[in-house]
Each structure stands twice: as structure tokens, then as C-alpha cells.
Amino acid sequence: MNALELVDLNVWFGEGSDRVDAVKSVSFSVKQGDSFGLVGESGSGKSTVLRAITGLVPNCSGSILVDQKELGTGRSKRFYKTVQMVFQDPYASLHPRHTVDRVLSETLQLHGFKEIDTKIPKLLDDVGLGASFRFRYPHQLSGGQRQRVAIARALAPEPEILLLDEPTSALDVSVQAEILNLLCELRAEHHLTYLMVSHDLSVVGHMCDNVAVMQHGELVEMMTVDKMRNQQADHPYSKHLLESSARYRS
């Protein structure tokens, strides 16, 4: 069963002669419990796809299906309970004047949860932070800890699908390893479906089962991770990406 399906998605900014097409007729589907990677370089429109799913872009056409039900123009509370997102920069995605407790309790409140005081320590525990972090402000946390809080916030509504927008590119390598491990564990534990955007092929290779390559707003190739690992891309652009990535880490 498809947890998420995009059919002929177009996203553009501006109108008339100023119109810039950020995403051009992109279609793909993600099976329930799958982890799907979207790779490409900056400006390829990969992050815009995520924003289109969450309803944060001004203009888009085509259809987006979550749990095989088509989404309209607006997004309902139920949608936000099913689909959550983790942002790229943990330094920008937490309100600087709100404590961890406030971030989580507000999220829980908005989704109508009761027993917030028992839920918060559990959420913090899930992402590997102790209860001692509960009343801290973001500036008292390291980058990795902040990203854990952001993940806890995304987990709070007990979603089925998690959109990951370069969740580790702002972090140190060793911290990246911790966060990637955490994300893998959470997927297994909570039966989550991931849609992950990254410029780093090795991160996507580690996390995902299927990969789509984007260039200039178009989806140029889809392949399994095994194919990617064995450098068996068909499209010249994906080949080029794989080669430079392999050289980079040689």
C-alpha cells in the first residue's frame, strides 16, 4: 500500500514573465514503511517537493495522495497528525525563547492530547534525551541535541510519515551518525514511512531503500539503493553524481 503518492506535481514561484518552475511534473510513490530518498544538488527542487506536500508553497498543481486519499489545497489537522517534518537546520527550527517543554507541550496540545506531563518525558526518552533536558532553552543545547528535540516534536503527534529535509547536513559527522542511527531505530519502532531529502548520497544510501534523483526540478531517475551502491545508474546525470560522490570520499 502506498503511504504517499505524488502524481504530476508542479510547483512554481511568481507569475507571468517572473515565473520560475521549481518542480516540473514529478511523480513517485512511497510504500508504507518504506524509506524513500530524494537526492539532487542545490536548486534541483528536492526540498520544494517536501514543502509542497506540507502545503507550504504558494502555487502547485497535480495531486498528492496520503494514505490513498487526495489532498485538497488546504491541509487539515488530520493531515498534520499523519505527516510531520524535520527541518535541516536545528539552530533555526526551534523558537529561541521557548523551552523544550514548551515546544513539546504546545505541539501535544494542538493535537488534542491529554496527559501531557507524562508524555513529554517519554518523548524525550524516545529520542535519547533524558528528562533533565525538559526545561532547557535551545541556546543551552548542542546542535545534535537540538535536532533530537526537533525529532521529538515531529514524533509528538504520532505520525505515520516523516519528511526529513537534510536532517543532518548542519551537524558534525559523529553527531550525524548518532542522529541517523536514531532515525533508523525510530522507523523500526514506530513503523514510520520516511521521505528523506539530501545532497549526500552516502547518507541516503545508508537510510533509504529507494532513491530518486532530481535535476533542475525534474525527476531524472529512480533506482534501488543496491543499484546506486553498485554505481549502476542509467541517466548520465545520476552517473555524474555518483561518480563525484565516490571520488569525494575515495
Partner: protein, 285 residues
């Protein structure tokens, strides 16, 4: 005196509300005519080391060292005016993001020419010619167009190549590159680094390459200093990275996911508090 840079017992300190924070804690190293990598994670003091070499640590930061020499000249006691002469002529620096290091309201060409004319008396025609040559040297196909472009009209990779051109035009002997390509796409990163590498080799310059990415650095350096908590914990020959022994270095190497190998779990780093107190390894040649 054959070394380009000599540093002995360098400390960089920042007084804060809760006490003095030591960003760099007594490191010693030297740079010959070689490519030296400084690798570490955020907070390891690697960037502060680079900035201290150019005396770019702002107040209230404090820089102390037993010896700090650039091509035999003592820069601890050097007056600021002389230091300004030294920057650009003898030693220059490429920063992470060209978006912030190029002046947005000045044409690219004018900025390169300015970088040259600070250190050399040249007439404008010759300066222009030299700037164009330099742009060509960083593999820009249409130097004329880039010369009269504004920084926002350039892509990230192009901008960083312009930065390299600007930093190398006065023929410095030492180049410090602080995460020069972290803001760029992977395929462009390699391109830019190869251009930088070629120029550095051809001109017989010394390079200090500061980065968080151990594997990347090992491709472009001869010797690598690994920093942790403001100290050097290990020094590796670039080719012998696999022989590194310090658990921190091993952790940096192994925690990175690799495309060709499938891991179920990534190795994580258990930070031993004892690492912070270990004696700093000397990187003097």
C-alpha cells in the same frame, strides 16, 4: 629558516560571563612547503587556529603564544599596519561562503583589482589584465563576463573560484582555506578543490586546509593535524589514514556512512573526557 609558519604553544582564550573559555589550548605546529590539513569537529578550535595566524581574532578574544612566525617574521608583536601588509602579500585566507566574503555592491573585477593594488603599484590596464589572467587560472571560461559581473550573478562554485583568484593574485606564499567548499554541491566541491590544489602546487605555496571532513582533507593534503577540544590529538600522514590510532580519529573515519558498504548501524563516537586532558601532540617539523 625554511618553514613558512612556526607556531609554538598557541592559546586562544575568550572571557565569558561564566569564566574564561579556552578555544585553543597550547598547540604547536609548523608548515613547510606542504599541504597541511587541520581537521576537527565544531568547537575543536580549528577555525580559531587559522584566524589566529592572520591575527583576525577580535576583542575580547586573547591570543597568546611562545612563538608565532610567518616566514621568519614574528607576528605576535608586529604592528597592525605591518600586519595588514602581510595579509594578502604573504598569507591569505579563503572563507566558507563566498556570499559573505564578496562585497555585494562591487563588481567582481574591481574587487580582484583592489586586492592586487593594495600590495603592488600597478596601472589599471595591467591590473585588469592580471585579474583576467587570474580568473582564467581558476578555470573560468568567460573571464571578461565574470570580471564585470556582480557577486549575486555568480553561482556558488563560481563565487568561490573568484575568491580563490582574489586571494592568490598578490602571490602569497601561504594560503589558509577554512572549509572552502562546505557551502557547495559535492560535484562542484571537487572541481573547486582541484583548481585550488593545482594553483597551490604550481606556485610552490604552503596550504593550510581547515575542514571537518577527514576523508576529503586526506585527498588534498600531505599531513593532517587532528584537533579535539583545542588540542592536537594526533598527526597523520595523509596516505596512512587507515593507520591512525587515536580513538577520536578512528571515530571520525568510521562514523561516516559509505556509499559502497552497507552498515546496519553507524559507529558512533564515545567521547572520553580524558582526551581533553591529554598532552597536545606537537606538529613541528
Amino acid at each position: 629558516m625554511s618553514n613558512l609558519v612556526d607556531v609554538e604553544n598557541l592559546w586562544v582564550r575568550f572571557p565569558t560571563r561564566t569564566g574564561v573559555f579556552d578555544a585553543v589550548r597550547g598547540i604547536s605546529f609548523s608548515l613547510g612547503k606542504e599541504r597541511l590539513g587541520i581537521v576537527g569537529e565544531s568547537g575543536s578550535g580549528k577555525s580559531m587556529t587559522g584566524r589566529a595566524l592572520l591575527r583576525l581574532i577580535r576583542k575580547p578574544g586573547i591570543v597568546e603564544a611562545d612563538r608565532m612566525e610567518i616566514m621568519g617574521q614574528d607576528i605576535i608583536s608586529m604592528p597592525e599596519k605591518q600586519m595588514r601588509q602581510l595579509r594578502g602579500r604573504d598569507i591569505s585566507m579563503i572563507m566558507q561562503d563566498p556570499k559573505y566574503s564578496l562585497n555585494p555592491v562591487m563588481r567582481v573585477g574591481a574587487q580582484i583589482v583592489e586586492a592586487l593594488s593594495i600590495h603592488e603599484k600597478v596601472d589599471s590596464k595591467l591590473a585588469r589584465q592580471k585579474a583576467l589572467e587570474m580568473l582564467e587560472a581558476v578555470v573560468i571560461r568567460d573571464p571578461e563576463r565574470v570580471f564585470s559581473a556582480y557577486p549575486h550573478e555568480l553561482s556558488g562554485g563560481m563565487g568561490q573560484r573568484v575568491m580563490i583568484a582574489m586571494m592568490l593574485i598578490a602571490n602569497p606564499k601561504i594560503l589558509i582555506a577554512d572549509e572552502p567548499t562546505s557551502a557547495l554541491d559535492v560535484s562542484v566541491q571537487i572541481q573547486v578543490l582541484e583548481i585550488m590544489d593545482k594553483l597551490v602546487r604550481d606556485r610552490g605555496m604552503g596550504l593550510i586546509f581547515i575542514s571537518h571532513d577527514l576523508r576529503l582533507v586526506s585527498n588534498f593534503c600531505d599531513r593532517i593535524l587532528i584537533m579535539y577540544g583545542g588540542r592536537i590529538v594526533e598527526i597523520c600522514e595523509a596516505g596512512k589514514l587507515e593507520e591512525a590510532r587515536h580513538p577520536y580519529t578512528r571515530g571520525l573515519l568510521n562514523s561516516m556512512p559509505q556509499l559502497n558498504i552497507k552498515h546496519d548501524r553507524l559507529e558512533t563516537l564515545d567521547r572520553d573526557p580524558a582526551w581533553r586532558d591529554q598532552e597536545s601532540v606537537s606538529g613541528i617539523l
